[in-house]
C-alpha cells in the first residue's frame, strides 16, 4: 500500500508575530523587520552567531525553520533526511535593490561580496541546511502568491520516490518592508493530512 503523509507542524511569521502550530510564541510592537527579527531570534533562543550576518530573506526563512525543526526534536546522533522546498514572489529583490544601489554610483563602485551572495533566493535554503546539517534535496520556486498545489506536488513526488524522508515546505517572502513566512513539515507521522486543501487552510490561519 502507498504510504500516506501528514503535516506534523507549521510555523507563521507575519504581523510582528511568530507562531507555531497556531499558538503564539512571540509578538512585538516593533514594525520594522530587522529590529523585530533580531528581538524574535533572541527571545526564541536562536543562539546562532551567523544569523546576524544574513540578509532579511535568509533571517526570515532561517528563523521559521529553526522554530519548526527545534520543535521536531530531531535525533542529534543520526543524519536527518529533510528536503527543503521554498517559494516566494519577490525572489531576492530586497537584497538585489540594495546591491544595485551600491553599483549605481560609478564613483562609489565597491560592490560587496557579502551582499552579492544573498542576491539569490536559494541562499536561505543553504543557511538552513548548514545549521541543521541537511544534505538533502532542495529547490526554490517563484510564484505570484502562495501556491499550495505546486508545493504539494513537489513534496509528494520526493516522498513517494524516497528522495526524502521528510520535506520542509513553504513560503518566505521579503519585499520592501513587507514580510511573511509560512513553513510546514511533511512526514509520515502527524495528524493533519498532507493535502492542498489542508495546506491552504493552515496558511490562512
Amino acid at each position: 500500500m502507498d504510504k500516506t503523509f501528514h503535516i506534523s507542524s507549521y510555523c507563521h511569521i507575519k504581523n510582528n508575530s511568530v507562531s507555531l502550530d497556531g499558538k503564539l510564541l512571540f509578538t512585538s510592537p516593533i514594525q520594522e523587520f530587522t529590529a523585530f527579527v533580531k528581538s524574535a531570534a533572541q527571545q526564541l533562543h536562536t543562539n546562532y552567531a551567523k544569523f546576524y550576518k544574513m540578509d532579511n530573506l535568509s533571517k526570515l526563512a532561517f528563523l521559521a525553520a529553526d522554530v519548526l525543526l527545534k520543535n521536531a526534536e530531531l535525533p542529534v546522533d543520526t543524519e536527518n533526511d529533510i528536503a527543503i522546498i521554498l517559494s516566494n514572489k519577490a525572489s531576492s529583490l530586497g537584497t538585489d535593490r540594495t546591491y544595485q544601489a551600491s553599483i549605481d554610483d560609478p564613483d562609489n563602485f565597491f560592490p560587496s561580496p557579502s551582499v552579492f551572495v544573498y542576491t539569490l533566493p536559494n541562499i536561505c535554503i543553504g543557511e538552513i541546511s548548514i545549521k541543521h546539517q541537511l544534505h538533502s534535496e532542495n529547490c526554490f520556486f517563484i510564484f505570484d502568491s502562495f501556491n499550495a498545489d505546486h508545493l504539494w506536488t513537489n513534496a509528494q513526488s520526493l516522498l513517494k520516490r524516497n528522495k526524502a524522508e521528510k520535506v520542509l515546505c513553504g513560503w518566505v517572502d521579503f519585499d520592501d518592508k513587507n514580510y511573511e513566512a509560512f513553513l510546514y513539515l511533511v512526514e509520515e507521522n502527524g495528524i493533519i493530512a498532507h493535502s492542498p486543501n489542508e495546506i491552504k487552510k493552515l496558511y490562512r490561519t
Binding site: 527543503i84 514572489k89 519577490a90 525572489s91 529583490l93 538585489d96 535593490r97 546591491y99 544595485q100 553599483i103 549605481d104 560609478p106 563602485f109 560592490p111 560587496s112 561580496p113 552579492f116 551572495v117 542576491t119 539569490l120 533566493p121 536559494n122 541562499i123 536561505c124 535554503i125 543553504g126 543557511e127 541546511s129 548548514i130 541543521h132 546539517q133 541537511l134 544534505h135 538533502s136 534535496e137 532542495n138 529547490c139 526554490f140 520556486f141 517563484i142 510564484f143 505570484d144 505546486h150 506536488t153 513537489n154 509528494q156 513526488s157 520526493l158 520516490r161 528522495k163
Partner: protein
C-alpha cells in the same frame, strides 16, 4: 512511473541560434568568448560570450510581437518558439511551462530602464512568456542559483510522473549584466582571458548569456532524433558554506549517488560526464574530489564553460542539450582551455574532440547556497 524523455530543443547562444549549428561550432573548437566593449550594456569591457543584439532583434521581429519585450524575454521567446514549432505539440491544459533563471530581467533594475519596476519580478517574466504562447497553465519559475537549468528538467519529470502534465516545455535563460559582472568581480572570480576549467593556470570564470529550451515528454511519438531518456536525478545540498563549495564534494557526491540509485546504474555505466567546471580554483577541485569518491576519474569529462562562459540559470540545460547532440553524433567534445591538470585528484579530461560510441551521460552542476544537481541520460534511438 512513466519514462520521461528530453526531445525537441533549441540553443540560442553566442555560437548560433539552433542546437545543431552550435554543435558544429563546438566540433571545430570555436568559442563564443571574446572581449566585449558595449557601453550601451556594460560599464566596462569584459571577456564574455554574449548574444549578438542585432541578430536577436531581427529573429524576434519575425515573430511579429505586438508589445515591448526586454532582452531576456526576447531570448526566451525566440528559443521557445523554435522548440514549440519543431515539436508540433499543441498547447492545451495538459502542457506545462517551466522557466529557469537566476536573475531574470535584472538589467532593468537600474533607474534608466524604460520598463516598469514590476517587470523585474520573476513571476511577471513567467506571465510574459505564458501569454506570448497562450499557455493555459501558469509558468512555474525555478530560481535555484547555477543548478537551476538541470534542476528544471528534474522538476519537469516530477510534474509529468505525478500526472499533472503530459508534457512540459522548459526554457532557461540569463543575461550578462553589470549586476552579475560586478558581483563575480567582487569575489575576484572573473578571468581576464578565456577561462580554463581544470587547468593548473585557471584564474576564474567568464560570464555568458544563453537561452535554451526543451520539450520534456512521455510520448514516444513526440521524440526528436536526438531524444534522451531521463534515467535519474538528484539535487543535494553541501550544508557547508553559502558561497564556497564543500571540500569533500559532499552535495555533488550525494546528488550523483541519488541519480545512479534511481537509474539503477553503476558509475562505470556512464560513458561521459558533462561537468560544471567553472574554472574557479575551489569549484574544479571540489568536483575532482566528488568524482574520485565515485570512481569516475577515468570517465571522459568536459566543461563547456570555455565555449559559452558561465550562463548561470541556463547552463545546466544548455550543457544537457549539447550532451544530447554528443550522444546522437557519438562525439566527445574537447574541454576548451584545458592543457595541464590543475586539481589534486586525477580526472580524464577530454583534450581532443573525438568520435566514440556513446549511450549515456551524466550532467552535473553546483552553485551558491551549497546546491548541486546531477542527472543521468540515455539515448533513445
Amino acid at each position: 512511473m512513466p519514462n520521461c524523455y528530453l526531445s525537441y530543443n533549441n540553443i540560442l547562444s553566442s555560437l548560433g541560434f539552433d542546437t545543431t549549428s552550435v554543435f558544429e561550432h563546438l566540433k571545430t573548437g570555436k568559442s563564443g568568448i571574446q572581449p566585449v566593449q558595449d557601453p550601451t550594456r556594460f560599464y566596462k569591457s569584459v571577456f564574455a560570450a554574449v548574444i549578438p543584439t542585432d541578430t536577436l532583434n531581427s529573429e524576434f521581429e519575425t515573430l511579429e510581437a505586438k508589445h515591448q519585450y526586454t532582452r531576456l524575454e526576447k531570448m526566451l521567446i525566440v528559443s521557445l518558439s523554435k522548440t514549440i514549432k519543431a515539436s508540433g505539440v499543441t498547447i492545451n491544459n495538459r502542457i506545462g511551462l517551466i522557466i529557469s533563471t537566476t536573475k531574470g530581467n535584472i538589467d532593468i533594475l537600474n533607474s534608466q530602464s524604460q520598463f516598469p519596476n514590476e517587470r523585474v519580478y520573476l513571476g511577471t517574466l513567467g506571465h510574459v512568456v505564458k501569454d506570448f504562447f497562450s499557455f493555459e497553465n501558469d509558468a512555474i519559475v525555478i530560481s535555484n542559483a547555477c543548478v537551476s537549468g538541470v534542476l528544471a528538467v528534474a522538476v519537469a519529470k516530477r510534474y509529468i510522473q505525478e500526472g499533472l502534465y503530459d508534457a512540459v516545455f522548459v526554457v532557461a535563460g540569463d543575461l550578462v549584466s553589470d549586476f552579475v559582472i560586478s558581483g563575480f568581480n567582487s569575489f575576484q572570480a572573473l578571468s581576464h582571458g578565456p577561462c580554463r576549467p581544470y587547468d593548473k593556470d585557471r584564474i576564474g570564470i567568464n560570464l555568458g548569456e544563453v537561452a535554451a529550451s526543451v520539450l520534456v515528454t512521455t510520448k514516444k511519438e513526440e521524440l526528436s532524433e536526438d531524444a534522451v531518456e531521463v534515467l535519474g536525478e538528484g539535487s543535494c545540498n553541501d550544508a557547508n558554506h553559502i558561497s564556497g563549495p564543500s571540500r569533500t564534494g559532499e552535495g555533488l557526491y550525494r546528488s550523483i549517488t541519488s541519480a545512479l540509485k534511481e537509474a539503477n546504474m553503476h558509475s562505470n555505466d556512464i560513458d561521459y560526464i558533462s561537468a560544471h567546471g567553472t574554472a574557479t580554483a575551489f569549484n574544479d577541485e571540489m568536483e575532482a574530489i566528488a568524482f574520485n569518491r565515485l570512481r569516475l576519474h577515468e570517465t571522459p569529462l568536459h566543461s563547456l564553460k570555455g565555449y559559452f562562459g558561465h550562463t548561470l540559470g541556463a547552463s545546466g540545460l544548455l550543457e544537457t542539450l549539447v550532451g544530447m547532440q554528443s550522444l546522437r553524433q557519438n562525439t566527445l567534445i574537447a574541454s576548451a582551455g584545458f592543457e595541464t591538470l590543475g586539481v589534486s585528484k586525477p580526472l580524464n579530461i577530454i583534450t581532443k574532440t573525438t568520435a566514440k560510441e556513446l549511450r549515456t551521460f551524466l550532467k552535473t552542476a553546483s552553485g551558491f547556497g551549497g546546491c548541486n544537481t546531477a542527472a543521468l541520460f540515455r539515448k533513445v534511438s
